[in-house]
């Protein structure tokens, strides 16, 4: 594997509970790349992101993420370097936005004070003590982007990258993916609005396999 290759999937198939999600996904992402992922509703984009996040084991084929072979115990070591922002917020509703981020910071060995900086950076300095359950969808989304600022991942996976974000926040997505890419990481963005994506190249997920768009 090329040293600068962060993600490879080779003929990865995946079925869950009898339904086939991926048939033979082939994919390579190099360091410094910003890749868009397109595809119709229900085509398995979210599932593909979870495979890349090492959360789902492929049922066939092989793949490696950040040098860790999928389906082996190597994945545990690279997980802290991956940030997945799903379309449901990975936040505890009963905790405040600040507490949620401090939880992440402490567990990944970052300084918890960075939580406040990151919240300020995404324009939520005044909302740090607000419970996640009382926050709007856009605020939750911004908080999750703040999580990427704290963790500084080598692989950033954004599902529905622009969903629920206003014009300011869309600029934020570009800024944060830009930071990841500049630090020799890679970003994968799922979107329904290809023209809003500022990416190096786009992939399309059709019939369980990946094509260049």
């Amino acid at each position: 594997m090329n040293a600068k290759t962060l993600v490879t999937l080779d003929d990865v198939g995946l079925s869950i509970g009898g339904s086939v999600i991926l048939t033979s996904a082939k994919l390579t992402v190099a360091a410094g790349e910003k890749v868009g992922l397109l595809g119709p509703n229900g085509s398995g984009k979210t599932t593909l992101l979870r495979v890349l996040a090492t959360l789902l084991r492929p049922t066939s084929g092989t793949g490696a993420v950040l040098g860790a072979e999928l389906g082996t115990d190597e994945i545990y070591a690279v997980r802290p370097d991956i940030v997945l922002v799903g379309h449901l917020p990975g936040l505890y509703p009963e905790l405040t936005l600040g507490e949620n981020l401090r939880f992440v910071a402490r567990l990944t060995g970052r300084d918890p004070r960075r939580a406040d900086e990151a919240l300020a950076a995404v324009g939520l300095a005044a909302a740090a003590d607000r419970r996640a359950r009382d926050s709007s969808k856009g605020m939750l989304r911004r908080t999750e982007l703040a999580r990427a600022l704290i963790q500084e991942p080598r692989l950033l996976l954004l599902d529905e990258a622009h969903a629920g974000l206003d014009a300011d926040a869309i600029g934020l997505v570009d800024a944060i993916t830009g930071r990841v890419v500049a630090a020799d990481g890679a970003a994968l963005l799922v979107s329904h609005e290809p023209d809003r994506l500022e990416v190096d190249r786009s992939l399309r997920l059709v019939d369980g396999s990946v094509e260049e768009a």
């Binding site: 084991r57 070591a77 992440v104 990944t108």
Partner: protein, 222 residues
């Protein structure tokens, strides 16, 4: 991050969430207390009888209603929160231990909250009551461990709330035996030690299986 620091983070997160929803304190404790009030209506309100049965009833209420503490919402991460915790790279054993510590503390709180109600209503013999300081935590730890194990196995299943009690209750028998016999030996003036050893042995066996099962348990919902 060191193992025990991770454990502390997870346990603290669980407890903060639990304090804010107050599920155990405001719902489960009153429910169990109501059961303690109701039982004499079924078995009679004869004072010596109640004093004799009291301790046994206490433990059976702790076991059966304690299942509700185990099943509380903050006990298992599901969906995006689970993805988050897994991606933070936490040692699965630390996660298991952390949520077990939280559950055990809540079961202990539950026991301590019920104890005065039992004493007031049933007027049991309080000889050697200080031994409770050892018995209550040992039982709480056992139930917490059993809860994390079975709760992990049934995570995100539709039938979780009915399946988990079925898995817990038969396996909780040694805890029930240890707790009730400890109290009884106190009253009969016998040694309580064998029963404490039994409770500790149960806790140890469950802890070992939990730590060994932690990694496969974590992959359960993928």
């Amino acid at each position: 991050m060191p193992f025990w620091a991770q454990v502390r983070e997870i346990a603290r997160k669980d407890l903060v969430i639990e304090i804010r929803t107050a599920e155990v304190l405001l719902m489960t404790v009153p429910f169990a207390a109501a059961a303690l009030v109701l039982i004499p209506f079924a078995i009679g309100t004869d004072a010596p009888l109640l004093a004799e049965l009291g301790p046994g009833l206490f433990w059976i209420v702790v076991l059966l209603f304690g299942v509700l503490v185990i099943l509380r919402k903050s006990a298992v991460d599901e969906g995006p929160q689970q993805d988050l915790v897994r991606l933070l790279g936490i040692d699965p054993a630390a996660r298991f231990t952390g949520s077990t510590v939280a559950t055990s503390l809540l079961v202990l709180l539950f026991e301590v909250a019920l104890l005065p109600i039992l004493i007031a209503l049933y007027n049991p013999d309080l000889g050697g009551w200080w031994w409770m300081a050892a018995v209550l935590p040992l039982v709480a730890a056992g139930l917490g461990l059993l809860g994390s194990l079975t709760g992990g196995v049934t995570a995100s299943l539709g039938t979780r709330t009915s399946l988990t009690p079925l898995l817990i209750v038969p396996l909780a028998l040694p805890l029930l035996v240890g707790a009730t016999q400890a109290v009884e030996s106190l009253q009969l003036g016998r040694s309580i030690l064998p029963w404490l050893v039994l409770l500790a042995a149960v806790d140890l066996a469950l802890a070992v299986s939990g730590v060994l099962a932690a990694r496969p348990l974590e992959e359960v919902t993928t």
